[in-house]
């Protein structure tokens, strides 16, 4: 996907987050999108799952520390 396409999706995700009133950091949203973009055509999802799991864990601990 082009850079502008990725930014479009990220902007939409941030807007939805604000409307839902959820505290999910921009970085996590961007990281998940990056992982999905890199793995979009790969049918074996295990690599994507591991990477997302790591990202969520990282931001969950950071939120705990705050």
């Amino acid at each position: 996907m082009s850079k502008s396409g990725q930014i479009d999706i990220l902007v939409i995700a941030c807007l939805e987050r604000d409307e839902l009133g959820l505290s999910v950091p921009n970085e996590l949203l961007a990281a998940v999108l990056r992982i999905e973009e890199a793995n979009v055509s790969i049918s074996n999802r295990s690599k994507a799952l591991q990477e997302i799991e790591a990202q969520v864990s990282k931001y969950a601990s950071e939120a705990g520390e705050d």
């Binding site: 996907m1 999706i9 998940v32 055509s41 705990g64």
Partner: protein, 650 residues
């Protein structure tokens, strides 16, 4: 952005030996033209084969690649053919080579070696497969390598519950990048499950939360089972939908065969009907012939009947005249006797006048003879009428004429049946019959599967609500001792709900963009001034809008073509993957003005456009004028022999 720099082919279809089509580095339009059967579609298939390993025949049927070995090369003992694509993807040099070796008759087993090179470094088989899948996923290849003759299929997007339309819609969403969000939602769901398991495990260790954790574990397990069922049902649904789409395609492809079969059935039914009519006519003629002996006498009898009637009429007139004379005589006699007219009561001076009573002329013998004659006539008339009541030969003649017409029609129908059967010999009737027989059951199975899927989704929703309720209880019971797992699971859930909501918003935005871009392109392409643009529906189907605000309901084949080209152009502009656009026969049944508009619009549709046209389809001078500097090169496909086409540069 993916660009194809060079296409190398070897003994591929009609391209004998090694040949090259160099597309160069600049953006613009390359024109490849030639007469029919020179190999334009084969060239498109060579690219398709290199990128996705498949070749397509008419009507999108997948063909066995061994068919693409050049036949004269094969008969001269050569067994290898292949294709190589030199590409550039985001500045990186990529080459893909597919080399095929055809086995001996009768199997002609094919061995295909595929290798990709990135910056001249050969890739492993797995890397090659991943690279090709990333460069050109098969599902969206239709938007980059497309057959203009199949543009009409985009009309399916306007039809509710069309399986083909659904498949195109999915491909459109894929090219627009929606799978990124769909995968994020699905993957986060899996991650939530993993965190949830760990969370429950932790909670079971704590006395305060153990009970809730166990309950939660049971319901989560139930959700998992239901989801497994859903996956199976989805697979089943996909399988049935694919089958139905294949059947729809087969039915469309075999429309000629269907028409022949319907004509055959009609002719056979007609023969049965006219044979029955003929038998009924023959039966009626047999009945009529029972009084056939009468028919020669019929006209004489009618003559006699008319003579008798005339005689009876004459006799009646005679009788009436005699009666009148007798009455006048009686009145005159009375007047003489009384001296006064009994009618007008005038005085009469008729002294000494003596008159008879009118009965002087009556002859009793003659009267008796008249009565006898009259009785005879009545008897004769009655007998004649009885005979004339029988049907005459006219009905039998009509029936005979009809039988003759039936015999002639039957002979014509028999000839038609013979001709149709001859035509059907070259068509795959058995396949069509099989498709027709399987169509109904497949359709029912698909509906049943969708019902089951709906029911399964409802059960998942219910179980999921229970999971949410139990999680809330667990959270309350945990108090301030929230586990790391719970935090992770909650963050993953929040992230998933964001992506879940983003899907709809992104789709809406994309639809708006597609509608605007397709409308702009449509207005450039159409010659109809009253069309104001296009309106998109939920399936990306496009309706033509008139300037009075109404929807153009009836769309000609040309209009359909222009709408489809507008959609393809708009998708290219909004695609998550930018690549070359190869169009085979894009002009369909378009008139000269529309062709000119399409040619003018080509450079704006994609950075690299390759147009494959047959010679009469495009005025080359017009293309040169309209494309100007955007025309990079023109290549002629020149016939050397029936099995050898040479790519020449103009």
């Amino acid at each position: 952005m993916l660009k194809i720099r060079e296409i190398g082919i070897f003994n591929f279809g009609p391209y004998r030996g090694k040949q090259q089509l160099i597309l160069g580095e600049k953006d613009g339009v390359t024109l490849v033209y030639g007469e029919n059967m020179r190999g334009k579609t084969t060239l498109l298939n060579a690219i398709r084969f290199a990128l996705i390993g498949k070749i397509l025949g008419r009507g999108e049927r997948t063909l066995e690649p061994y068919r693409l070995m050049n036949s004269s090369a094969y008969s001269e003992g050569e067994r290898e053919f292949g294709v190589a694509l030199l590409m550039e993807n985001d500045g990186e040099k990529i080459e893909v080579r597919r080399r095929c070796t055809v086995g001996e008759e009768p199997d002609r087993k094919l061995k295909i070696d595929t290798t990709a090179f990135v910056a001249d470094v050969p890739q492993s088989q797995a890397e090659t497969n991943d690279l090709l899948q990333q460069l050109m996923p098969e599902e969206i290849s239709r938007f980059f390598l497309f057959d203009g003759e199949l543009l009409q299929q985009y009309e399916e997007l306007l039809m509710e519950e069309s399986v083909a339309g659904e498949q195109i819609r999915e491909a459109i969403e894929q090219i627009l990048g929606i799978p990124v969000l769909l995968n994020a939602r699905q993957d986060l769901g899996e991650v939530i499950e993993r965190f949830s398991k760990a969370e429950t495990r932790e909670a079971k260790k704590n006395q305060a939360t153990e009970k809730h954790a166990k309950n939660l574990e049971a319901v989560v397990e139930r959700v998992k089972e239901l989801k497994k069922d859903r996956d199976k049902l989805k697979e089943q649904e996909q399988d049935l939908a694919d089958k139905k789409a294949a059947m729809d395609n087969a039915l469309k492809r075999s429309s000629k065969t269907q028409a022949h079969m319907a004509k055959l059935e009609q002719a056979e039914e007609r023969i049965v009907a006219i044979d029955a009519k003929c038998d009924a006519h023959k039966e009626e003629i047999r009945d009529l012939m029972k009084v056939g002996w009468l028919w020669p006498a019929m006209s004489k009898l009618r003559e006699m009947e008319s003579e008798i009637l005339v005689a009876m009429e004459t006799e009646a007139q005679k009788k009436a005249a005699a009666n009148r004379a007798r009455l006048i005589g009686e009145l005159a006699k009375e007047a003489v006797e009384v001296g006064k007219c009994p009618v007008c009561f005038q005085e009469c001076e008729c002294d000494g006048l003596s008159l008879g009573d009118g009965s002087e002329n009556e002859d009793p013998d003659s009267e008796a003879s008249d009565r006898q004659d009259e009785a005879n006539r009545i008897r004769q008339l009655s007998a004649i009428k009885r005979l004339l009541n029988h049907p005459d030969s006219g009905r039998a003649v009509t029936l005979m004429e009809e039988i003759m017409a039936i015999v002639a029609e039957r002979a014509g129908l028999k000839q038609d049946i013979k001709d149709i059967n001859l035509q059907l010999e070259s068509e795959d009737v058995e396949e069509l019959k099989q498709v027709q027989a399987n169509y109904g059951p497949t359709n029912s199975a698909l509906s049943e599967c969708r019902r089951a899927l709906k029911d399964n989704n409802r059960q998942i929703d219910e179980a999921q609500s229970s999971v949410n309720a139990l999680r809330k209880r667990l959270r309350r019971a945990s108090g301030s001792n929230q586990s790391e797992e719970m935090k992770r699971r909650e963050l993953a859930e929040a992230t998933r709900s964001i992506f879940e909501k983003s899907i709809g918003r992104f789709r809406d935005e994309l639809r708006d963009r597609i509608e605007a871009d397709a409308s702009a392109l449509f207005k450039k392409l159409t010659t109809e001034k009253q069309f104001s643009g296009l309106r998109i529906n939920a399936n990306y189907g496009l309706e033509i809008m008139r300037d009075d605000g109404g929807v153009q309901e009836l769309r000609s084949s040309g209009a359909e073509h222009i709408v489809a080209l507008s959609l393809v152009g708009a998708l290219q502009r909004n695609s998550s993957l930018t690549g070359p656009l190869f169009i085979d026969s894009p002009f369909g049944r378009l008139d000269a003005e529309h062709r000119k508009n399409v040619v003018k619009a080509l450079p704006g549709m994609a950075p690299q456009v390759v147009l494959l046209v047959y010679s009469d389809e495009l005025d080359l001078q017009m293309a040169r004028t309209e494309l100007g500097a955007s025309l990079l090169a023109m290549h002629r496909l020149e016939r050397r022999t029936a099995t050898h086409t040479q790519i020449d540069a103009n």
